[in-house]
Every structure is written in C-alpha cells, then in structure tokens.
Amino acid sequence: MKFDVISTKKFWFALSIAMVVISLGALLFRGLNFSLEFTGGTSISWKFEEKVSVEQIRETMGKFGLGGSKSIIQPLGEPGENQVIIRTEFLETAERQKDVADGIQKDLGGERISITSVGAAWGQQVTNAAAIALMLSIAAILIYLSIRFEYKMALTAVVALAHDMVIAVGIYALVGREVSPATIAAFLTVLGYSLYDTIVVFHRILENSRNIGKQTYSQMANSSVQQVIVRSMNTSVTTLLPITAILLFGGETLKDFAFALLVGIIPATYSSVFLAAPLLATIKEQEPRFVALRRRVEAGEAGEVRQKYQRKKTAGKPEQAPGREVADLQDERPEAEGAGETGGQDQPVEPRQPWAGTRPASKKGKKRKKR
C-alpha cells in the first residue's frame, strides 16, 4: 500500500484548517444546545394514551402559570407512541411538581414517564465541574506526554487534540444535538483515545528515529505511519464496533453517549495520521541536524549500504529510555536496507528492525541471514 501522508501534507493541513474554521463558525453562530443539567429547568416526559395536541398541553400548562412560551413541547420517540417532552422553568418544590403532574393527568390522561428538575445553582455546579474536568484532563495529558515523549511531540499531540475537540464540538453545534454531562464524559474519553492514537504513531516514529539511517525525517515518519496505520485502523474499528452496537440497539441515553463518542473518534483517528504526523515531520525537519540529514540524503550517499548493514545490525544500540532526544545520528551511516534511492522516494522501509535493541539470540539469526 503506497500511501504518502507527508508529501501530501499541504492538502491535509488545508483540510484540517477548513474543518476547524467551519466548526468555530458553527459554534459562534449557532452555539451549543446545552441540556437541562447545565441550564436548569424542569423536563417532564409524558406518555399519552391517544394523540394529544400541543395546544391542549399548553392550555393545561397555562393553569399552572406555565402556558405560552413558558413551556417547550416536543414529541419524543416514534410518532405512534404519543410521547412528549415538556420543558419549563425549574419547578422547585415537590408540591409544585406533583401539582403539574396531577394536572396533566386529570386533563389529558396518560402517565408520567420521567421528570428531571435542575435548579440554577446545581446547573452552575455541573458546568463548573465539567470545565474543571476538561482543563485537568488536558493538563494531565500534557504532563504525561512531556514525560513520555519529547516536548515537540507533546506540542504536536496537543495541537491534534485541540483540533479534534473543536471539530467534535463544531459538529454538535452544526447538528444542534443536546450537550449533556454524558456528552462531556464521552468527549473526555475521546480525548484519551485521540491521545492514544497519536501516541501509537509517535511511538513508532520515535523508535524508527533511532535508526533513521539514510532517510530524511519525513521519509522515516511516513514509513512509520505506514507501519502503524493498520494497527491504528484496527483499534478504531474495535472501538467503533461496540459504539455501532449501541447506536443500533441502545435507548436514547445510550445513543447520545455513542453519538458523542463517534463524533469524537472520527476526527481523532484522522488527526493522528493526517495531521499529527505531517505536522511533527514539518517541525522536526526545521532542526539543524535533520536539515543536514536531508541534504545528505538528497545528495545520494547510498554507496556503502549493502556490506555495512549486516555487521551494523548485530552491534545494535541498547534500548534508550523514551523521552530523551534522539541523539544517535552516529548511526546515520549506512543502516537502511536497500534504500539506495534518494529524494522523495515512496518505498516503504522494510520493518526489519523497528524495535531497537531486541534482536533475537543470534542462533536464530543464522537461519535468516541467507542471502
């Protein structure tokens, strides 16, 4: 599968920027539809025995001072089920709630399915908690990334993360779907997932960068992406499988959750491959030694490849602790196997030794070295 993410990066950057701009626009002009738990108010779901018109309901609600625009009435579920959801201001006391419910029962029949009431103070608490959770997650992630990888990777990962979040939220703004605490929980989970996906790619890039050999950083990054893309896709699919199951069979609440997860995972998967990797490559290529490397590669010092690489392999460097700068360009001399060509080649590097320092014992090696 010849697949080049790095050289087509301009396209992907443009696409990403476009999606972010659209999302921001949607957020600004349409805003988000926040649920009861954030805004406060009371929501009554009612099932009627037969069809009842909105006017009739409004009239009944009017008896309690909740007529006219004070009640928002929407159908719920399938049309034949005669279920509605009535949203009003916060009905604070038990008494008031019961009165309204009894009133509807008396006038229009049916039964109450559920009722949720949220006071303004509580709604505020929920909003604050969600905001703090979000900020803390991002902080925790930043710290974790900086420890695990170098800071440029951490930065790139966070950019990808922000991109994902904005798009996910933008979709909600565009579609107008309700944002509830469950949505926030799902988004935070996706945050973790997006990060993980990016880590999978960066992990491989980091490993390969230790034996970068005769390629530019971009080429190495590109082949790293090719190596892990199958795994990345697999991971997305296994996560999407249960989500699909929920979307098909779950009830309203579960579906909301699943939708939020879906909306988050799609940009997350996209960004680790199509945004994070090219962005990282672009940034790293600015570093002086990678500039130098690029010049050398392009000048075509492919000569000594063949003989040297056999010997070099068994003298592999011991495993380095992750997070340290990739400092071993002493290995820049012919290590790449057969990558004789120069400049912009697409040939994937054979994953002969993508995991540094873990050569099997040499007795096995004997069998394989036949040329």
Binding site: E37, A129, H203
Partner: protein, 453 residues
Amino acid sequence: MSSKQKHIISLAIAFIAVAVAAFLIYPIDKTAKLGLDLQGGIQIVEKAVPQNKGEVITPEKLDQAKFILEQRVNGLGVSESTVEVLQDDQFLIQIPGISDPDRAFDIIGQTALLEFAIVQPGQDATVDALIGLREQKAKVRADGKPIAMTDAEKTKLLGKTLVTGASLADANASFDTQSGAPMVNFQLKSTDAKKFGQITQANINKRLAIILDRQVISAPTIQSQITDSGQITGVGDIDEAKDIALVLDAGALPVRLVPQTNQIVGPTLGAESLRQALVAAAAGFVLVLTYFVLFYRAFGVLGWVSLGVFTMVFWGLLTAVGVTLTLPGIAGAILMIGIAADSSIIIFERIKDEMRAGKSMRTSMETGFSHGFQTFLDADLVTFVTAAVLFYFGVSTVKGFALVLMLGIMCDLFSSFVFKRSALSLLSRLRIVRKPWLIGVRGLPAKSKGEVA
C-alpha cells in the same frame, strides 16, 4: 521454576479469578445493583440552609439532619435507599424502585416541626379558618398569602410555643375507634410528660393548637390533664396520618432543605432502558467476536477466550465492589468490551508483524506480547487517567461511567498479563499451533514456514 511452570501457574491464577467471579455473580442475579435510571425511582439533591437568618450550619446539624433523613427514607420501606452528604451542605438521596416517588419527595423536604401552643383569646375564628383551609388542601389564602403562619402571626394567634416535637418519643397512625377518622397517636418522652401535664392542667377549657410546619392541623379543647400521650385529629386521610407519623417519628430537621435537583424515573422507562442496554451489550459482543474470527482466524478463538476471561473478572469485580449500574456505567462497560478486544488485537497484530519480518511463529508468539504490551499499556493508562479525572470531578451519573472504565482497565491489564501472555507462551510450544495461516498471515517467505525452534 522454569518459565513453562510460571506460565502454568499464571493461567491457574486466571482461572481461579474467573471461578471466584462466577461465584460472586451467581448466588442470585440479584447481585446486580441497578441504578434508578434502570429500576425507576427518585433521586433528590437538597441543600441545607439555616432555619433562621444568621444561623450557621454546623457539622453536628448536618449529621443530625442526615440521620433524620435516613430515618424518613427508611420509613418509606424501600431497601437500598441511600442518603449521602455532598460537598458540605448538600444531601443526595436516592430511592430506587419506589412506587410513589412524589410522596417520597414530599416527606423528605419537610422540616416537620411540631408545635403545641394555646389558642389566644379572641382568635378562635381565625384559627378555625386556617384549619379549614388546610383541610381543603388550599395552597394560599384568599388574599394570596401562603397558609403557613409567619412568626408574628403565630405569636398573635397562639402565643408562645410550649412544647415541640422534640418531646415526642413515638408517633403512629391509626383510626379512631369511635369515629373511624384517621388520626396520629403520639407518646411523649417521660421527661417531658410532666411538663405537658402542667401545661394542660393550667389550660383546661382552652384550646390546644397542634401546629405542623406552621400550619395548624387542629385545635381541640383541653378537657383534662394530658400527661404522656395524645392524638392529633383533623388529618385528611390515613395516608396523610401515616406520613405525619413518619416525619414526627424521625424528628424535625434542624435545617431547612432547598431542592437543588431531582429526577424521577418511572418503572417502565427503567425496565425499557435496561432491556435496550442489554441488547446493545450483546450486539457489541457479537460484533467483536465476529471481527476476531474474521481477521485472526484460529487466534480469534484465543481472542474469544481472552475476552471471556476479561468479562468474567470484570463483572466479578463490579459485583465485589458493589458498583451500582447506571446507563452511563453500562455505556462504559460496552466500551470496555472494545478496549479489551483491542488489547488482544494489538498483540495479534504484533505477532503478525514479527512473522512478516521473518521471525518464526513460535518466537513471534513469545515475543509478540512483550513487544506489543507497551502499546496497549499506554492506551490503557491514558484512558485510566482521563477516567480518574472524570471520576473526581464528575456529577453522579458521569462518575459511574468513569468508575466502570477504571475498573475495566484494571481488569484488562490483569487478564492480559495473567492470561494472554501465559496462554500465548504455552501455546507457542505446541507444534500444532505453529502454522502461520492459523493467525491469518499469508505469503511468508519459505524460511519461516513450519519453522521449528
């Protein structure tokens, strides 16, 4: 101990864990604790606020209030009700499975202050009017004011409070033997009986007003001295009598409660949600199991067993910890199916990778795990951290989701290290397993096919 023995022990541990889990789960399927979005019921958050301006909510008052609330909640006769204190001044009351949630809401919110006072001269008519309004269940008086008396009013109509509900030892509801009307019987504490006796003795032929939460229930004329017990008549029906007895028994709250949020889920909605959730979970399983076999062939079966081990241990842990299942919790569990499957897949892919790179199948199986686990460890850790943050800051339903994720990840790590690794290692020693097509790797160069160590 050879590595083979170590792995066998490891597998044994895995199976013991599964057995323990099964044992925990199956005594009854009543070991499943369902939240109120799956069972129906009511959940209320009330904020404690001082009775009178300038007072402060002390920890003692909170404790007392919590105790009283628990009494009331228990008096409703539903098992598994809980009263929790949130953030210093709020109570979270959960009553799953109750058939009359509105009544519960009502009972919980009342201050339930019982007072006895003497109707002041010349105020009979006004007092009677108030009693009448209450009997009719009116909410406001003719002039729009609430029925409950203000402090000033009470002093004018009834003078000082002479005895309060604190003097009650006991209260219950019954029907009057003569008139058949419902009433509340109360017993006074022995220490207060004397005082009550003196008051009634001194006020014979005057009317004793019985006031609950500043509403006059009745005001009978004192015929003779009353010492240790009495009745409250004028209650609407036996249900109301029972409710009054309930709150009197528990005692008056030392604080006023302000409702913050409540949620009532009807039983049909609860049952329906549960059914749908279970179907979704089953579907999720089926999809994942199919995926395994499709892409990993015979190893897919290993994936199944692995997922089975994970599910049992996970379920067992949830039961052992006593987690209450809510819809977000189930969403988390279904997600975990995907995450657990993913750990297996990462290993299998790694094995395939190593085989394609030329290693023998046996080696790949041995080392596939040790090379691959770093990756899913990262994934699991990241998910765990975000779940932990959610748990710490979350609102109650979201907390359930986060908790399930955290426990799930722990189980995933356990089942991976204890089961998958050992199973792979032991299986790799069996020649019969070492055929590349079994895992779905095709077109390998000749040298690694049928490779014998």
